[in-house]
């Protein structure tokens, strides 16, 4: 009688666009942190990620979405900041919705895997 290890299915999903991967869970987290902190700088700190990279991700998202997901405020009181556009907020919601549907499906459909 074999010792019966436990195996389960993991899945990672992302939105793809003509030029390649467009939006995955990493960028979604970044969006959430921008929403929460009001700036790219603080979002990056929160995630222990370099500002440089966070900024690049935002650039890419904005360029490749039909309409920008993040609105950036330059200069002024507090130096500026960043906040989500409506499209940005919708992106978060939509992503999690899709993810949940898929994960629920997987949980239902796959059990007792053996290798």
């Amino acid at each position: 009688m074999p010792e019966n290890k436990k195996y389960d299915i993991k899945v990672r999903l992302w939105i793809e666009e003509a030029e390649g991967p467009f939006l995955g869970i990493g960028k979604i987290w970044l969006l959430e942190n921008i929403q929460k902190t009001g700036s790219i700088t603080n979002a990056a700190k929160e995630m222990k990620m370099a500002y440089r990279q966070a900024w690049q991700l935002v650039e890419e998202m904005n360029k490749r979405a039909e309409t920008p997901l993040v609105e950036k405020l330059l200069g002024g009181k507090g130096g500026g900041g960043a906040r989500l556009t409506e499209a940005g907020e919708r992106a978060i919601t939509l992503f999690y919705e899709i993810e949940k549907r898929i994960k629920d499906f997987i949980e239902k459909e796959t059990q007792n895997l053996k290798f």
Copy 2:
């Protein structure tokens, strides 16, 4: 009227086990090539991957499956070789089955994404 880019959902799935990721599409391809060529060396060549790495992947798979997926033949005429065990063959089938079910589901469930 916006230019309507096309977005779709991509998914990558793998089998997870206590110690982490256990079996994804990369290892499945390796299994298939071992099956096809009869050795790790030739499978690796086929995939333009270093023998060393292919061998390590096989080791890992074998250790972490309940029963080895690849049987290795050492020395002898032709130097030996490798072939799939029954468990190895089942792994391939099972993996693709699960993948197909999930991808079909995604295709049905998600269309007209907008960002």
